[in-house]
Amino acid sequence: MITKNIMIVGVGGQGTLLTSRILGGMTLHAGYDVKLSEVHGMAQRGGSVVTYVRYGENVAEAIVEEGQADVIIAFEQLEALRYAHFLKKDGVMIINDVKIDPMPVVIGAAKYPENIIENLKKDHKIITVDAAKEAKKLGNNRVFNIIVLGIAAQHMDFSKEDWMEVIEKTVPPKTIEINKKAFEVGFNIK
């Protein structure tokens, strides 16, 4: 099998590490070789963060490089734009439809780019979701990332049952039910 390349991008504190932990667990569960690369430390303080997940028969490097990503999960619009050139020509990007102003925008030193999603759609396969809204419907704002993961899972080759099993093993016991529901919501969004 050719190595599959997944990226999770967002803003430090948005829960990228939990999402990648589930994804990593899933690939291991399926018997693949897997490598994940994360950002810890200073950038976690509200900075731009990226996690790479690569799985296949034999994975050498832990990072995904420009033009190689099969799937990019973007938790924020500007971060989707920043990493769009990592996408393969036939890759897909799932964008959580939310904008978080970076400090240069807040203080007026830069402008938040307009029409990000429309522009990205010109060259790439893009799926958008207002995951916060969907999460609120479930009564828990924090599970928005698992909803987005559910959508991304439609573009990977693991069964729903396997995903559920891995979620059960990965998230804190108290949050298993809500996370499984959130995944289900994402997995069913067309």
Partner: protein, 579 residues
């Protein structure tokens, strides 16, 4: 796959230490090395501690080794500088129980003040260095490091980089190997490093080095992979994974030991390939030595000494491939920021209003250097805030620093700031030192220290009182104030800075991320009362943005209810909401 786990590089090092029978581990937190100790703590068989700094951690490990057990000290690359004093000398002494220093370099400066290469330090200190390239090797090489240490009677450095430390990969677990303690016997010629003894030991070091150069050729941690011999590549660590990805058909010599270099092995490999490349991140450590032996090789002529490498970089530089890669989009940067509700933001807002410059230090509060706060003028290394302010005063006189303070966190103060404060007292400085005490080591992810009252193992211990400590030095002006009481803080700073005496202001307010409890208070803006003056936006809180009409709004998913914005609003437009 049954006994395989997916593990962070740092967790794999911890596991390696466990399996190798390590009994003592000491460290000071520092990205990207912190998670080693955070994982070691899971193993009850290992005594593990946070030491106040890396020099102490190294000395604790040395002591344990002298007593006959396997011991480890872990730190980031700049921590190696702090620990270099004992390192250079224990290199002469050698070990009793195996002794390993884990040094985590940070090419690409993800979370550091410089990009130094530990291999350069190791060469100067004459200590062998081994370097793994994935999580499995991180575990295996850690175990090998202890064997090497005992066999060759030397401390060993296990070198990692951020990409290895913070990547996860599959690791096969083994059982712990219980190592019997080696007997301790007094041996002053080996363990008392005074000139006469050290002179003799230096000869031993040289012999050891020569033996390692020869024996290293047969170490199982090196790997020779002959494929097409037109291109031959010498590499190690993480760059090896990029080489394999970019040039799967090239011949590769993957070095497990990167100091001292296994010369014969390298010479043999070089003789069998047409063109030899050396792929190493940061300094040309392997390259310069190989070239000095008269071997033709290409290295930094086509590679940089800065940042991380990648497979694409190698495809372009060695493979001469034209890559069809889209240009990155123009997107505004998203630098790290202080969290909503961070007490440092309040302190910097006060200092900014008073037009005070800060000599800064290492921690989250370094972020006070960037807009819109822009209060911190200098950041050098751990503890330098206090001593560099003192230097300014001695150069220019006490009036020169009347609009300056030194700003340092509680953990950094306990690390090396304390020495600088002792110096300021001793040499009659008059500066004002602000200790931003947020009750934790924040930037690295909340580790305890001597002034928090808890150990790495989670034991509750008496917390060293920072105010009492300062008073015990004879400092008369020691003031404690809540970081979020901006009025009182303003008064205190003005008063203390004006004094012709040393002052310590301690803003004791816990890091907002320490409490896991849900927020009970938030603030909301009334667009009717808002005069669009922008005062509340001065501190750069990420929870506050503008509506299209210019009035402000507060994001209720971000607000932690610190009250700073409400204190700054002169029009009563920001109101408290009890949740």
């Amino acid at each position: 796959m049954a006994n395989k786990q997916i593990m962070l590089g740092n967790a794999a090092i911890a596991r390696g230490a466990y399996e190798a029978g390590v009994k003592v581990s000491a460290a000071y937190p520092g990205t990207p090395s912190t998670e080693i100790s955070e994982n070691i703590v899971k193993y009850d068989e290992i005594y593990a501690e946070w030491s106040p700094n890396e020099k102490v951690a190294m000395e604790v490990a040395i002591g344990a080794s002298i007593s006959g057990v396997r011991a480890m000290a872990s730190m980031k690359h700049v921590g190696v500088n702090v620990a270099s004093d004992p390192l250079y000398t224990v290199a002469y002494m050698g070990v009793n129980g195996g002794l390993v220093m884990v040094a985590a370099d940070d090419p690409g400066l993800y979370s550091s003040q410089n990009e130094q290469d530990t291999r350069c330090v190791a060469r100067a200190a004459q200590v062998p260095v081994i370097e793994p390239s994935d999580s499995q090797e991180a575990k295996d090489f850690t175990k090998f490091a202890f064997e090497l240490s005992e066999k060759y009677d030397t401390p060993v450095i296990l070198r990692t980089t951020t990409r290895l430390a913070h990547s996860q990969g599959l690791v096969e677990l083994c059982d712990r190997q219980e190592i019997e303690d080696r007997p301790y016997e007094r041996n002053a010629a080996k363990n008392v490093m005074m000139p006469g003894n050290a002179k003799m030991r230096h000869l031993v070091v040289e012999e050891r080095n020569n033996k390692l150069i020869a024996d290293g050729c047969d170490f199982p941690i090196n790997k020779v992979e002959y494929n097409d011999t037109k291109i031959g590549i010498i590499t190690s660590g993480i760059p090896y994974t990029y080489v394999k990805e970019a040039l799967p058909n090239a011949s590769v010599l993957k070095l497990g030991i990167v100091h001292p270099l296994p010369r014969k092995l390298i010479e043999e490999f070089a003789s069998k390939v047409d063109t030899l490349y050396i792929v190493e991140e940061l300094e040309p450590v392997i390259e310069e030595q190989v070239k000095s032996w008269g071997i033709k090789a290409i290295g930094k002529e086509i590679f940089t000494v800065q940042g991380e490498y990648s497979a694409n970089m190698i495809r372009k530089a060695i493979g001469k491939e034209e890559l069809d890669i889209a240009e990155p989009a123009k997107a505004p940067a998203r630098p790290p920021i202080l969290c909503p509700g961070c007490p440092h933001r309040s302190v910097y807002t006060v200092l900014k209003k008073l037009k005070i410059h800060a000599a800064g230090d290492i921690g989250c509060y370094t972020l006070g250097a960037v807009a819109p706060l822009s209060v911190v003028d200098t950041v050098i290394c751990m503890g330098a805030s206090i001593s560099s302010l003192h230097g300014m005063e001695k150069a220019k006189g006490k009036d020169y620093i009347k609009n300056w303070v030194a700003v340092i966190g509680d953990s950094t103060f306990m690390h090396t700031g304390i020495n600088s404060l002792v110096n300021m007292v001793y040499n009659q400085g008059t500066g004002t030192v602000m200790i931003l005490d947020n009750s934790t080591t924040g930037m690295t992810g909340h580790q305890d220290h001597a002034a928090t009252g808890k150990t790495l193992k989670g034991e509750v211990v008496p917390a060293i009182s920072i105010p009492d400590l300062c008073r015990s030095l004879g400092i008369k002006n020691v003031v404690e104030v809540n970081a979020f009481d901006t009025e009182e803080l303003t008064r205190v700073v003005k008063e203390e800075v004006a004094k012709d005496e040393i002052s310590v202001i301690i803003t004791k307010t816990p890091c907002v991320l320490l409490s896991k409890a849900p927020v009970t208070v938030q603030y909301e803006a009334d667009p009717e009362l808002c005069k669009h003056c922008g005062q509340c936006m001065q501190p750069g809180c990420p929870a506050i943005t503008k509506n299209e009409d210019g009035s402000i709004k507060i994001n209720d998913t971000l607000c932690n209810g610190c009250s700073l914005c409400a204190q700054l609003c002169k029009f009563g437009a920001i109101k408290k909401v009890e949740l």
